[in-house]
Symmetry: C2
Subunit: 246 residues, 2 copies
C-alpha cells in the first residue's frame, strides 16, 4: 500500500489516496482514529463507473462513516476508471446497452458475462485492500461492507470472515448462481431497494432478499429510480452499521 496524497477536511477527516499494486484506492479516517484508539472500517463498494465519477458520493458516505467513528476505504474496480481496459467486460457492457436499447430481455448468459468475471477478479482485490488497510495501527475492526455491485457484496460476505455486517444495494443484475451463494451468507444484512429501479427487476430483488441465509436481515424499499435513494435511506444504513460495528 503506497500513499500518494493526504488531505484533511474541516471536520478533521483524513483522506489518503493510495495505490495497491496497480489499483488506485482511497482511505478516509476520522480525526479520532489513532494507534491507541483504532476504529472500525466500512468498505465502500462502488459501481464500475470509476472512482473519479463516484468521488462526490463516496466522500459523502465516508463523511457519514467518520461522523459515526468509522474509517472508510474503497478501491477502483477492474476495468474501470484509470485501470487498464478489460476487453471482456467492455464487450459484455456493449452487448447490454444493445439489448436494452432494443427492448430485449437481458438473458442469464449476458448477466453471467457482465457480473461473474467481475466478482471473481474484484473480490480478491478487496481482500488484499482489507489486509493493507487493517495493517495500519489506527484501523482496527470489525469491518462492514456497503453498497456497490451486489454480487461482489454477496461473495465478500460469504468468503471474508473479517466482514461482520453488510449493507447491500439491490440495484444491479444478479446471476442465478449468486442466489446459491446468498443462501450461505449468515452475517447481518441491510438491503436497500429502489422500488422503481429502471435497471433492476423488483421481483428478482425480493427473491434474492428472501434467499439470504442470514437470521438478521432487513429490506428497506423506497420509491424512485436507481439514483433516487432518499437521505433517510442513508441514515438507516448508517444506523445499521452503528449497531453492528460498535
Amino acid at each position: 500500500m503506497h500513499i500518494i496524497s493526504e488531505q484533511r477536511d474541516d471536520d478533521g477527516v483524513l483522506e489518503r489516496r493510495f495505490t495497491l499494486g496497480e489499483i488506485p484506492g482511497i482511505l478516509w479516517t476520522p480525526g479520532s482514529a489513532s494507534p491507541s484508539a483504532p476504529v472500525p472500517l466500512i468498505l465502500l463498494g462502488l459501481p464500475p463507473l470509476g472512482l473519479d465519477t463516484m468521488y462526490p458520493r463516496l466522500v459523502a458516505r465516508a463523511q457519514q462513516a467518520a461522523a459515526d467513528g468509522f474509517a472508510a476505504a474503497t478501491i477502483e474496480l477492474p476495468g474501470s476508471g484509470a485501470r487498464p481496459r478489460w476487453a471482456a467486460a467492455d464487450e459484455a457492457r456493449a452487448e447490454l446497452r444493445r439489448v436494452m436499447a432494443a427492448g430485449e430481455p437481458v438473458g442469464d448468459e449476458l448477466v453471467d458475462a457482465l457480473v461473474l468475471p467481475l466478482v471473481d477478479k474484484a473480490v480478491p482485490e478487496w481482500q488484499a485492500a482489507l489486509d493493507a488497510v487493517l495493517s495500519l495501527p489506527e484501523i482496527g475492526g470489525p469491518v462492514g461492507y456497503s453498497g456497490g455491485v451486489i454480487s461482489i457484496g454477496i461473495r465478500l460476505a460469504l468468503v471474508e470472515p473479517r466482514i461482520v455486517a453488510a449493507g447491500l444495494f439491490a440495484g444491479s443484475f444478479v446471476p442465478r448462481v449468486m442466489f446459491e451463494e446468498a443462501r450461505r451468507v449468515t452475517i447481518p444484512l441491510h438491503v436497500l431497494l429502489q422500488w422503481d429501479d429502471e435497471g433492476n427487476d423488483r421481483q428478482a430483488a425480493l427473491d434474492l432478499f428472501d434467499a439470504f441465509g442470514s437470521a438478521e436481515k432487513s429490506l428497506l424499499a423506497n420509491m424512485g429510480g436507481h439514483t433516487g435513494v432518499p437521505q433517510s435511506a442513508g441514515d438507516a444504513a448508517a444506523g445499521f452499521f452503528a449497531r453492528h460495528l460498535r
Copy 2:
C-alpha cells in the same frame, strides 16, 4: 372527552385516561407540552385485543413519541376490551379461528366480514377522538397515525386531512376493496413488514405497498414473525415521524 385519571412518570410524561362517550382511551403528553408550546400528535393504532392487553406496548410507543416531543393517543376499538361485545365481529373471528385451525384458505368474504365493519365503525370514532384531543391547548398538530389494523390506517390516511403521515404495519388481512382506497392515499407512508408473519400473506403485503398512491413511501421488512419486530424497526418508525411531524 372526560378525563378519569392522571399520572406522571419519571420522565415527566403525563398519562391521562379518558372516555369519549362510551369509548375508553389514553392520552400521553411530554413534559414539554404546554398551551404556549403545543406539540404534534401521533395516534397509536392497536389490534382488536383490548387496551389492557396492549397497554405495555402502547406505553413504550408513547414514551418514544414523548422523547421525540410528540403527544400520543389511542382509543379502544369497537367490540374490544371493556366495550360491549359485538356479535358480528365475534362471529367473524370465531370463523377465522375455525378456518385457520382446519388449515383452510381464508377467503375474501371472511376477510371482508372481519375487517370492513370494523373500519366503518372505528374510523369515525378515531376522528372524534382527534377532534377531542386537538381541542386541548397543549396539543397542536400535525398528526401522524401509527400501527394497528392496517385497513383502519388506510381509511384514516384517505379521509382525515389532519393526518399528514402514517406508519403502517402490514400484519393483518386486507380486503380487496381497501387496495382501491390505498391507490388514492397520497400522504407519506412508512410500512413495516415482518417477512415471515404467520398470519399474513407476504405477497399481498407487497402488492398493497405497491398499490399505495403516495409519492413518498418506504417499506421496511425484517425477519421474524408477527410479534418479532426488532427494536431497530421502532427506531426507523420514530425517525419517519420525526421527519414528518416536526
